[in-house]
């Protein structure tokens, strides 16, 4: 027996497991296209809602900062900058998710999938560290200027802020790592294995 003996053999009945006549075939296709169109529209809608939400969010903080004066206002400005950078970063992630290109050769598709699913690539650290630093600076200055009204030495609230901030970042990183490990680690391993089978890793 040769490999060629299996050319053009369809080893199963059909996608729905039943023999379809022409009419049901057309109906199936119409309903599939309707569903696909609906999904397209839903995805677009979700993106618009997200944009509106982000703009409103920044607007509220900008409004709050307008009620403040001098250094306090600058501190709010830094915090808003942090939010704006974070939102840009989230947008870039969202755009990337929608841009999985299924038309690439399999080995390139797998290599890109591996990159996409890895936990915190160097580029993610490069992008997130300045955002974290901006949040830290903004928050730190707000704490300092808030307490300056009530006490001369603001060291204790500042230390508390630093401790809370570091704890929040650590817990955030740890929990997202755990989530990644639970959902993606085995997938990354699987992709790596496939890539090796393609002689790419």
């Amino acid at each position: 027996m040769e490999l060629d003996d299996f050319k053009h053999i369809t080893p199963a009945e059909g996608p729905t497991g039943k023999a379809l006549n022409e009419q049901t075939k057309t109906d199936d296709m119409n309903s599939l296209i309707d569903q696909l169109k609906e999904t397209d529209a839903r995805d677009r809608k979700a993106m618009y809602y997200l944009i509106i939400m982000f703009v409103v969010f920044i607007g509220i903080y900008t409004g709050t900062s307008m009620t403040k004066h001098g250094d306090f206002r600058s501190a709010y400005g830094v915090l808003i900058l942090g939010f704006a950078l974070a939102l840009l970063y989230i947008f870039s992630l969202l755009l990337k998710i929608g841009k999985v290109d299924y038309t690439e050769p399999a080995s390139i598709f797998l290599r890109k999938a591996l990159k996409r699913h890895k936990f915190m690539k160097p580029i993610d650290w490069i992008l997130t560290l300045p955002i974290i630093a901006t949040f830290f600076t903004g928050g730190f200055l707000i704490v300092r200027y808030s307490f300056m009204k009530y006490m001369e030495n603001t060291l204790i609230p500042e230390i508390i802020f630093i401790a809370v901030f570091v704890a929040a970042i650590s817990v955030g990183t740890w929990s997202s790592y755990r989530q990644w490990k639970e959902k993606k680690a085995s997938l990354v391993e699987e992709i790596r294995k496939k890539l090796m089978e393609f002689g790419q890793e």
Partner: protein, 175 residues
């Protein structure tokens, strides 16, 4: 051409081929149907981005292959699970489709399914494409492997099929 029209034309022309590839990739009918649907969804999503730089068939097969590659993980897990439970690959539901009810043909299909299920991802991809009579160049374009690598792998697989079938049919003969 409108996206919808193009999609219809592509599915009319390639639907059966896409389905065949999914069949060789997945033993389980649910996984197979999922991969088929996933391929159609991806074709829909990318239909208006086709630039005509490669042949439309190559483009379609790439999308299908990548849809199968994205879904193969759960199939492997399921197969592992079946074996752990004391079952074997033969226990999987197989809906063979051919006009004549030829036991020898059925035996060959059974053998070939088992053969495919133990191939690594790259080889399984190549066999699925080879069975659709794609040229070495097209297979290389779809997989990202070099043409010489494709040729070597196909040659090796053909040899394996021959040898393993001989062993398999001897085994059946003894029963």
């Amino acid at each position: 051409m409108q996206k919808e029209q193009l999609f219809r034309t592509l599915v009319d022309e390639y639907g059966k081929k896409i389905f065949r590839i999914c069949c060789w990739y997945f033993n389980d009918p649910d996984e197979r149907d999922d991969a088929y649907q996933e391929a159609l969804i991806r074709i829909w999503e990318h239909a208006d981005t086709f630039k005509g730089r490669s042949k439309i068939s190559t483009w379609i097969y790439r999308v299908t292959m990548n849809a199968c590659l994205s879904g193969i993980r759960s199939d492997k897990r399921r197969r592992r699970h079946l074996v752990e439970d004391g079952g074997s690959l033969d226990d999987l539901e197989i809906m063979e489709f051919h006009e004549e009810n030829d036991p020898e043909h059925e035996q060959k299909l059974l053998f070939f399914r088992d053969f495919m299920s133990v191939l690594d991802t790259a080889d399984r991809t190549l066999v699925s494409l080879y069975l659709e009579e794609l040229s070495t160049r097209e297979m290389a374009e779809i997989t990202g492997l070099s043409e010489s690598n494709v040729r070597v792998r196909i040659f090796r697989i053909k040899d394996q099929v021959k040898k393993q079938w001989e062993e398999y049919s001897h085994g059946i003969g003894r029963l």
